[in-house]
């Protein structure tokens, strides 16, 4: 009988105990997986904003179409600039009011300055955009330049915060997983004390006695992580199907689920922690 078969035999007899343990581990992992989901999406957003080098050049009030076209021509000739689009005051008003906000419709025309929407090449460096921005700001026809760099910075800060929070959460979750699996294995060992006693009496080595329990601990940790990720995936699918449009508008991109690499790491961590918990709790208790 292999160690796996022995682990299966033991686990099958105590399946309620194991199910409870897997559920508890899953609850802990749901927290961590949710945090990871948020971080992954903030990171996606940040990457998109950082890459999409663009700027809005707001023109001063009263600048005529001819002057605007001149600036547009000059911008097109600037190296690194991919595209320039003129958005008139009326268009700007229509874009916003079109979103259905009546309050915006009441605002005067000055509230919607005409602008030139500049797009920089993807491979252009950050200072290309910054350089263009400073040059443009000095022109009397230009009211202000918005490069959105501050948003990228804010997202990066948010991301760093999210990563730190997730790391702290991970420590708590790992602690919870270890204590849940350790106490389950301790209980399983108690319930199978006769079996363990017999094994030791007929000359089983400590390793032989321990291995099925370690396998059971690893299985609990890994299945807990799998259950957590499955639950989160179901929740994610429901949210997505109900709020697809709104979500995309809100965060400016299609949300994404955890990548396979993150899932694999989580399941691996679950298994590893479970095995570690089982091993250490047995080391203290298994002395004959």
């Amino acid at each position: 009988m292999t160690d796996l078969q022995r682990a299966w035999r033991g686990g099958r007899n105590d399946w309620r105990l194991h199910a409870l343990s897997v559920f508890s581990v899953a609850v802990a992992f749901v927290c961590l997986a949710s945090a990871a989901l948020v971080v992954v999406n903030i990171d996606g957003l940040r990457a998109r904003w950082a890459q999409a080098g663009r700027a809005s050049v707001f023109l001063a009030a009263g600048v005529d179409a001819g002057r605007a076209a001149e600036i547009e021509q000059a911008l097109r000739a600037t190296p690194g600039v991919a595209d320039v689009r003129f958005v008139s005051s009326e268009e700007a008003r229509r874009d916003l009011v079109g979103m259905g906000d009546d309050v915006l419709a009441q605002l005067p025309a000055e509230a919607f300055p005409a602008s030139l929407e500049v797009k920089v090449n993807d491979d252009a460096e950050g200072h290309t955009l910054a350089g263009i921005a400073t040059q443009l700001s000095s022109l009397p026809a230009v009211e202000s330049v918005e490069t959105y760099g501050v948003w990228t910075d804010r997202l990066a800060a948010l991301l760093a915060g999210g990563v730190t929070a997730s790391a702290l959460l991970a420590i708590i979750v790992f602690g919870a997983v270890i204590s849940v699996v350790a106490s389950t294995i301790r209980l399983a060992l108690q319930r199978r004390s006769r079996e363990v006693e017999v094994l030791k009496l007929v000359g089983a080595s400590d390793g032989y006695v321990r291995r099925p329990f370690v396998i059971e601990g690893a299985a609990q940790g890994a299945s807990g992580a799998v259950v957590a990720i499955a639950l989160l995936a179901v929740f994610y699918a429901i949210v997505r199907s109900h709020f697809q449009g709104e979500l995309a508008t809100l965060i400016g991109m299609a949300p994404m689920f955890l990548p396979w690499s993150v899932i694999a790491v989580m399941v691996g961590m679950g298994g590893g922690l479970g095995a570690l918990a089982a091993f250490t709790s047995l080391r203290k208790l298994l002395v004959v």
């Binding site: 079996e195 017999v198 094994l199 030791k200 009496l201 007929v202 000359g203 032989y208």
Partner: protein, 273 residues
């Protein structure tokens, strides 16, 4: 072995094909107790300078009142307890000097039967009996055939698939005996194996151990049940005041030995059946 040297593996001498490792072992006693002392508490020593030799293939009763130290002695033999002083040579090796990693190898040479059977109740009879062979990692086919043979020997042929917990006391003890001998150990220890059984079943189980002994296995049978000692003349060792005394047979000698303080261990007549 040199003094101070510790064995890492208990090499099974005289198992299976016999004297592969130590040609002289066959002629030596299988067990030698030399001045063995053991106390759980300093003020209440259990063994106080016990000496005893047991030959290969002997059947020996260990008897004495409850608390005399019979169980302690057996526990020392399978290295669940350490002696405080003295040594115990099992097939020439000092049990007290075994490292924790070599204790399993010692136990694979000893079959043990307890008063409370120590079966796993939610395992089948087959699984219970197979454990010592599973631990050795033998192939499943060999395990099945060996377990089948042993179950037949203890009169439980066909009961293999039953759950051990559903068997009667006498049957459970037979399963325990089967488990003790399935690995073909050189020594079988029985600690009050009939203690939980009614008298007729007790005699049956004793007969089972005698059958095992007939195949050349050394058997130590610890019991405080004097009625079992008289069934057939056998070597009887009485544990008393922390020492072991041989008595020829039966109750009368035990009573006399208790009174006669000049009793010399080893001079008593041994079973020559």
């Amino acid at each position: 072995m040199q003094p101070g040297q510790r064995t890492d593996a208990f090499r099974p001498v005289l198992r299976g094909e016999g004297n592969r490792f130590d040609p002289t072992a066959r002629a030596k006693p299988i067990l030698v107790f030399e001045n063995v002392h053991k106390a759980y508490r300093a003020d209440a020593p259990v063994l106080r300078g016990m000496n005893l030799e047991i030959e290969r293939g002997e059947f020996v009763f260990f008897t004495g009142p409850s608390g005399a130290g019979k169980s302690t002695l057996l526990r020392i033999l399978y290295a669940a307890e350490l002696v405080d002083e003295g040594r115990i040579l099992f097939m020439g090796r000092d049990i007290g000097r075994l490292t924790s990693t070599s204790i399993p190898f010692l136990r694979r040479n000893i079959g043990i039967v307890f008063q409370d059977f120590k079966l796993v109740p939610n395992w089948s009879v087959l699984e219970n009996v197979a454990v010592p062979l599973e631990v050795l990692g033998l192939p499943q086919r060999l395990i099945r055939s060996r377990v089948g043979e042993v179950l037949e020997r203890v009169g439980l042929a066909g009961r293999g698939p039953d759950l051990a917990g559903t068997l009667s006391g006498g049957e459970q003890q037979r399963v325990a005996v089967a488990r003790a001998i399935v690995g073909e150990p050189a020594l079988v220890l029985a600690d009050e194996p009939t203690g939980n059984l009614d008298p007729q079943l007790a005699v049956d189980i004793l007969g089972l151990f005698e059958d095992i002994n007939d195949t050349g296995v050394t058997v130590i049978f610890a019991t405080h049940d004097r009625s079992l000692l008289d069934i057939r003349p056998r070597r009887v060792v009485v544990l008393d005041e922390g020492k072991a005394h041989d008595v020829p047979h039966g109750l009368d000698e035990v009573a006399e030995a208790d009174e006669d303080s000049g009793d010399q261990p080893g001079v008593a007549v041994r079973d020559v059946a």
